[in-house]
Amino acid sequence: MKLAYWMYAGPAHIGTLRIASSFKNVHAIMHAPLGDDYFNVMRSMLERERDFTPVTASIVDRNVLARGSQEKVVDNITRKDREEHPDLIVLTPTCTSSILQEDLQNFVDRAQIEVQGDVLLADVNHYRVNELQAADRTLAQIVQFYIEKARKKGELPQGKTETPSVNILGITTLGFHNQHDCRELRQLMADLGIEVNTVIPAGATVHELKTLPRAWFNLVPYREVGLMAAEYLKTEFAMPYVDITPMGVVETARCIRAIQKLLNAQGAAVDYENFIDTQTRFVSQAAWFSRSIDCQNLTGKRAVVFGDNTHAAAMTKVLAREMGIHVVLSGTYCKYDADWFREQVSEYCDEVLISDDNAAIGDAIARLEPAAIFGTQMERHVGKRLDIPCGVIAAPIHIQNFPVGYRPFLGYEGANQIVDLVYNSFTLGMEDHLLEIFGGHDTKEVITKSVSADSDLNWTREAQAELNKVPGFVRGKVKRNTEKFARDRNLSEITIEVLYAAKEAIGA
């Protein structure tokens, strides 16, 4: 058992539902107790979805516990098939089905006899994989199912498209800024003269899946979802893939060069160097920004980054490599893929944190006192408590992270967006401190920058007043260093003298 207050990645079935509901005309039926269809609320709320989320539950209740759910599951599948004629129904196990150990595959086989569409059992185990891993698997599973089906029927199209083309794998519903990223990637491909063969799963139909092998290569923009499908297509059809996330100017160029190499290996003879150069120097503002005085002022500022593998790694590189910001800690909650993360970020930060315990990250932030945080909604709240600005760069996210306006994180426009996000986070913080230095705020109580306890030490009124004169952004640190100094010397009261003695002793 684990005491948990907050989780970064959701349970496995959420991943499967994200894939299923991303496709067009695919319906998911959860094998779950009443109340587990909360996914529908999230999708309807966060994505402000106009259509009913194609997810229903085959309810597990007392009767099911007593008698088994075979009849019910089969009935629910055939009913949905009749009502809405989906191309595919994905039976989705939950934590509850994982322990009931019913033969769900058998129910699927039974139902398949009676229905028009296809029926699949998502191959995910609640206790083995999380939301992201499950999404990756389910996508691969559906791809494989339809490739094999087409092959059996002899419907697999032969050969490649005439001009270079790509499949974009892993754009999903409830993914962080996925819809905007997708549009940006399509634009990028168009600029490069690459035809988009298909995008999956978002907005695709399962009938399109058999055409996947016609593309010259696959692009997997996110580390978490799409790689398994790309690997499968590579094994089956020797399709190469690019898995460099085009986030930030440098990585976008790297991604484009990788694409160039793949295409040229297949005889395309393309040269993207000019495009990269023009985009970098004149179209995108990000490179110019890094040269500008604004960015100069950010040099050496300390930041903490935390998120999923894709965004935390890319953000770390952007901050360190493109803006000269000092990343004191970079972390991910994708524990299952930690080696990759370490390898990506190690040279760009002081410290790497692999954890899905929100207290560990909160404490690290309190300890390091960065000038800005780039993290999830959880880190944003840690920042609020500690008075440190935070830019949100990864799920878990709230409704405000599903903007209506165009906000990609990928590609050249994405790089512009990141500049705004970073710059605004830092200047907001700076402005606050300046206001405080010039007494623009009401005198506030000093906030201890530790997430846990208040201090047990007594500050005299004079010492407190003196402390209040210290600019906000270092006050917490001065306070803590002074208290440590006092504690080490067994002093229970902090006077002005102690404050200055501490400053001299430890340079607080």
Binding site: M1, K2, Y5, M7, V41, T53, I59, L65
Partner: protein, 465 residues
Amino acid sequence: MTVAQPDALNFDCETGNYHTFCPISCVAWLYQKIEDSFFLVIGTKTCGYFLQNAMGVMIFAEPRYAMAELEEGDISAQLNDYEELKRLCLQIKRDRNPSVIVWIGTCTTEIIKMDLEGLAPKLEAEIGIPIVVARANGLDYAFTQGEDTVLAAMAARCPSKVDNEAEKAERNAIQRLLSFGRKQEEVAQESSEYVDHPPLVLFGSLPDPVVTQLTLELKKQGIKVSGWLPAKRYTELPILEEGYYVCGVNPFLSRTATALMRRRKCKLIGAPFPIGPDGTRAWIEKICSVFGVEPQGLADREQQIWASLEDYLKLIRGKSIFFMGDNLLEVSLARFLIRCGMTCPEIGIPYMDKRYQGAELALLEQTCQEMGVPLPRIVEKPDNYNQIQRIYELQPDLVITGMAHANPLEARGINTKWSVEFTFAQIHGFTNARDILELVTRPLRRNLALKDLGWDKLVKEEARV
């Protein structure tokens, strides 16, 4: 609008394929209500994910609740449940020092038959903190019924007698709440304002301001509320003795009512619920009648409230409302809104206890007759898919529904109000009738404001479902 009326309410039961919150959501409001409690939900990531998302920003306010997340070792019984729970509860004791730990059993603890009721007393004795067990899972219950299971378990913990004077003072929280810091003598003198009647304890968790309002409302009739289940603190749970009278304030508390009657030998006052001015008046009248008190000034009080609601009533009179059903407040709300002049073709409801809700159902019937509108069809365990087909046919002016359906219905030009707001808003008593109508009329007012834009249908024709 006088259609041929069936003379009795019509009850249906559908497939139970509907959307609602899992009952573990009750921790969200109960941990705030019971200030010295800690709620430990013993379940999986699924439960945690639901709570985290359903509670939104509350999650960041260092809530006094946590998940005991079960891992594979717990499921396969490789780990010892008792030792695991002890470890976590000691950690909670160390970090938060609560006066009670409430264990919320979930689907998983049911299926693997973890004996929480058996483990709790042992652990309680060992760590010295009361442990209350409530099995509020999605296999058996819906949404607000979670509170019912917690309160039913708490009922067993109410003291039957308190000897010690200091503790007696502590238990007397309601009086303290009402005396607003006045001196002892004044308060003592005040007690003569009450009629002599057997002790009355109310049950149902309400925000403190509403507790005060309802208590004062009864005080006007000379009726004294001796205690309230739950109280602000676990250490202030009311005294319950055989022969005490109890009365519910919410329609979803049938297990609590049963526990109070069977196990604590209390007498249940079956009344309509104090939702809307009509409901509040009927609730007070029923309590008065049990104690042989002639209610004073109630008719005027109700009349005044109705008069003050006129601006809202104008907006909804003659309009129809459809309850998809997910929180068990449906019958009381429908009854109030019919009195407001609305019609209601269908009341969906997760579960219908015809005995506990008997007085409310009778008032609903009477209201329909008096208002000359057809009796609604009450659909227990509704089927959301079928309901949506019926909504397309009926085209109601307003649908009360969960968030899963609200946006899609709005996109199809159907006004909706999110049902969960009724559980969190203050809707009880005379004072809060306005708040209910504020909620009910909000979509109508919003859509009235936008009506000339010609944007009411925002999906293509073929996208019906």
